[in-house]
Amino acid sequence: MSANHLTRIGGVIGGALLAAAPQVTAQQSRMVADSALIATADSFTVGDYCRATRAVTASAPIMTALKSDSTIVRISGATICDPLLSSFSLHALFGGTHAPLAAVARLHARGTQENRARILDAMSEFRAVVQNDDDGDGQNIRDVVTRSLDPATNQLVVRVSSTVQRLLLTDAQDKVLERLARYERKLGPTSARLNGPEVLLNYAAQRWIPRFRADPLRGPSPWEVIASYAPGYVTWSADRVQAVSASEFGLRRYLFGDRFGQSGPRGLLYPSYWAAGVITASDRNGALVWPWEGRSRVGGFVSWGSLKVAYIPDRDGSVLVTKQFQAIPFVF
């Protein structure tokens, strides 16, 4: 949890403390959509959360019921009640809006990136203990808290702790959806189709080469192996356009940036992938010619999306162009 929060805070602290015009990230744009959550997160401060923790620690019935967990609640409360951050709204704590200027000045002097991460951890710990419905000994702590505090204070405990959890959840969901968008980029409609040998090669690559493996938290590998027969190249030779068949071996790299993965004309500028590798072609031009027939030559190819250009030196018609497609599904 700490590393996770530190990473998050590391990302937002610059925006909150240093940047005059914070960047609008995908996360923030999605959070804007949940206007009720933003309004609630703006309406509560870290100081409000501190008041909630103090009400809990001041209640003898609750602290008795918590037994050894009461220490966790006291430590969490002490961490949350950081006077330097008390004026921060919960929204600002997450970097969703500007921090109060006076607080920024104090924070800047103290460099409190770690303080914020500690506070978020403490808020999670506090909620996990005082809102738990089973402490392991069959005791429902949430019920004890509800009974022991006056309704307004209990409502404060519930709402501030729930708001922080919702902000954490929103942030976590953004990461999951961004990862899923990457999978769609690599597997979905704008990705390159694979032939039979490529299916096997890419399976072997993900099985035995770490760089080709997907990771449950980082998402898909951007790399894909190319091993294909491409019968659709054309070149200019003997004063006319001629077809050329070639074999390609190389690597394809998917572009996971937000602007990429377009289809249609915009896909020419912002495609889903680029590729590079080695190409082999016979010295005889024509469609469906065996690439190693006669005096075959070797060169290189690059592609930007589905557009491919190849250069094979020492050949009549040395510059080849084509568009990525499969003439016969699953075969080539």
Partner: protein, 320 residues
């Protein structure tokens, strides 16, 4: 088209997530869910229950298209000189074989389905909190149950295990207090996959990330301060005496196919009324269920029939 998790207003304080099984076989036609059967069981409570639906077929379709799997099946059949029917059959074999194989053999697909599922669980938590906040209630007093069928049980088991152990998703049962009222797996092939996957373990990439194969079966749980906190109060397995996917054949339990998670509540539904008296008849009933048109009257794997027979469990959480 980016995946957008389903978001629903909560009319009351209870929700179900229905997780679809293989292809369209669960409910008879493309993308359909037997939520009518569930609503019928819930009766008046249906009006105050949010019913979410998760179908991950679109991700299977990405890979199926990318790999031209239907063409691959045709090529394989041609190579084997097998007479198994025309192109419609190829497409059907490709769809169902792919649905079962891809999550095991393709890491990309396995994790993509997992992420879609996780995003849906996160959305349900967000909706729950929003509904409770708007009414001044505590969201933790609102309940969520998961109702999965067939291969959906495998994905449910995998996802709940992953989110219980990984703090990054904010869905842990102890640290984040995300506990499901009940997790009901109907005709679960988890043990079947465990047995078959175990036999081909060497072929499975990153097998350690498949909970079904890499560790003893257990109710998904988080370890926190020496305590094992489960993701649900009720982990229920429902299967029929004649449903091979659920580990039974002609009334006999198949030890290598029946999911036995320690502490699970087990319900075995008698299916003698289906008149399945031979392995061939069972195979035919299943084949008919998976064919275009969907489940037939004597389908031992019908999700609708499983739901219709579990009124006490679905209405009140009581295992009859």
């Amino acid at each position: 088209m980016p995946f957008v998790p389903q978001s629903l207003p909560w009319p009351g304080n209870r929700a179900f997530l229905m997780v679809h099984g293989i292809g369209d076989a669960s409910a008879g036609k493309a993308g359909s869910f037997p939520d009518d059967a569930l609503r019928s069981i819930l009766g008046a409570d249906a009006a105050t229950t949010a019913i979410y639906r998760l179908n991950y077929d679109f991700i299977n379709d990405w890979l199926s298209t990318k790999l031209n799997f239907a063409a691959g099946v045709s090529a394989m059949k041609t190579a084997l000189s097998a007479e198994m029917g025309g192109t419609a059959t190829d497409a059907m074999i490709a769809e169902y074989a792919g649905d079962v194989l891809w999550p095991i053999l393709s890491m990309d697909l396995r994790f993509a389905v997992r992420d879609a599922f996780i995003a849906q669980l996160q959305q349900i938590e967000r909706d729950r909190a929003r509904a409770a906040d708007a009414r001044g209630d505590n969201a933790l007093d609102y309940s969520v149950s998961i109702l999965a069928h067939s291969l959906g049980c495998f994905h449910t088991y995998e996802v709940l295990t992953a989110v219980a152990m990984q703090p990054e998703h904010e869905l842990q049962p102890a640290s984040d207090l995300v506990k499901y009222d009940s997790v009901i797996l109907m005709a679960s092939p988890v043990q079947l996959i465990r047995t078959i996957g175990g036999a081909i373990a060497g072929l499975i990439p990153d097998i350690g990330s498949v909970a079904t194969l890499s560790q003893p079966l257990a109710i998904p749980a988080e370890q926190r301060r020496g305590r094992n906190v489960r993701c649900t109060k009720k982990f229920v397995s429902v299967t029929g005496t004649h449903d091979p996917v659920g580990g039974h054949l002609l009334g006999q339990q198949l030890p290598w196919g029946y999911m036995k998670v320690p502490a699970q509540k087990s319900i075995i539904v008698p299916q003698t009324g289906l008149n399945l008296t031979s392995a061939e008849a069972t195979a035919q009933a299943l084949a008919a269920a998976f064919a275009p048109g969907g489940p037939t009257a004597n389908d031992p794997h019908s999700w609708t029939a499983y739901i219709a027979g579990q009124e006490p469990l679905l209405r009140t959480g009581v295992v009859a």
